[in-house]
Symmetry: C2
Subunit: 212 residues, 2 copies
DNA sequence: TCGAATATATACTCATGAGTACATTGCATG
DNA sequence: CATGCAATGTACTCATGAGTATATATTCGA
């Protein structure tokens, strides 16, 4: 998933091709974003200075500015990566065979797992207010896309009878809320597997807490 | 629910009793917190300066410092109020008669509604990192209490057979997550009633999204 | 009536951290 | 080989906003 620039090829020529240079650059940018997102998740965006991020990589702040325009953009890129993963998950789920409920389940499992991962966590933990107006619009728009995907899956499930009839908007918000929340409490270093957790949460959401 | 200092008594003496003075002072402190929480919820804690809060009340920053120690304390008091409401709700629910499921439902309804209210929203929207270390501990501790109440209700419900067997910790987090999320999207000025919304979300959570 | 305490304002200080100016190195290419 | 761009560092600027020093008015109690 990450663009890895440390090429392992045997002929480690000291003369990188333009192609290699491009990917080296991308790898550095990636490294900055990865370092940033981890600190944002740990201490929060406003408690993290770009000096801190730079220091954690053993570089200096202007180097970050060489790869990214400003702090707002750093955050925006982070959430864009997370949201990109979520959108990809939605598109994969749509391709699945089976009932609407099956497709929804597949999506939700990925959705939950992503939200416990670095970039996904950042999406959840970032309040719209943290971003500058234009970035905020972008952010909101992408989130709306995810929501829309989820609602569509729900509507399809209701249509084919594999889901109980309900208000799709409300259902999407409710389910998403439940699966977003681990971004706040789940410890990625702990011993609870994200995938396991996701499975259990989805089981509960699908069957409800009342006995059947 | 709010301490209202504008006494309506007919004999509006210009010589307030010590009792009245105490309550006037409390009312002013309340007003500061209310103004603060609203701005925090709207623009976020870090985007809100105490100068802004003061201006919104037609007073000046030092006046706020006269009633509250510092910005961290302003935030802490806000979340303490919200958490106080939640704890009260838990205690009321515990007193209810009926099955464990009934008590849980009663609690959840209040829980959800509070989370759409000023102080409850602030509890949800405030990340632990925003607070100073000691306040953060306080905050976490109170949140743990709520969680513990919720888990107890779930355990009781499972014990009396009114709830499906499940891992109480996971169930509590899942349900809480779903009911917390409206703090992020619900518009208190909109036309969707918080109580209605709460009812519907709980219905979905209790019965699940699969057909029965 | 004098002094203490309360309530409020004006006008500061001062740390932090985003963002920049500028120097440097090194490779790459006309 | 000179010029120019990519990559990086050092050392700044500058706005913001938390928190404070200090002045003033009011009220209450001795």
């Amino acid at each position: 998933m990450s663009t890895c620039g440390q090429s392992m090829k045997l002929t480690a020529s000291p003369f990188p091709s333009p192609e290699e240079k491009r990917s080296t650059r991308a790898a550095k940018r990636d490294a900055v974003l990865r370092a940033a997102v981890q600190m944002f998740n740990e201490r929060g965006f406003h408690q993290t200075s770009l000096d801190d991020v730079a220091a954690s990589l053993g570089i200096s702040k202007p180097t970050i500015y060489h790869y990214l325009g400003n702090k707002d953009q750093v955050l925006l890129e982070c959430v864009k990566i997370g949201l990109g993963q979520l959108i990809a998950a939605a598109e994969e789920a749509r391709a699945h065979s089976g009932t609407g409920a099956d497709r929804l389940s597949a999506f939700l499992a990925r959705y939950a797992a992503i939200n416990m991962d670095d970039f996904g966590r950042c999406v959840i933990r970032t309040g719209d207010e943290a971003l500058a107006p234009e970035s905020r619009e972008r952010f909101r728009d992408l989130k709306r896309q995810i929501d829309s995907h989820m609602r569509n899956l729900i509507v399809e499930g209701i249509a084919d009878g594999s889901l109980a009839p309900c208000d799709p908007k409300l259902a999407a918000f409710t389910i998403a809320g439940a699966l977003n929340w681990p971004a706040r409490w789940h410890d990625p270093a702990g011993n609870e597997s994200a995938v396991d957790l996701a499975r259990q949460m989805i089981a509960l959401l699908s069957r409800g807490y009342l006995p059947r």
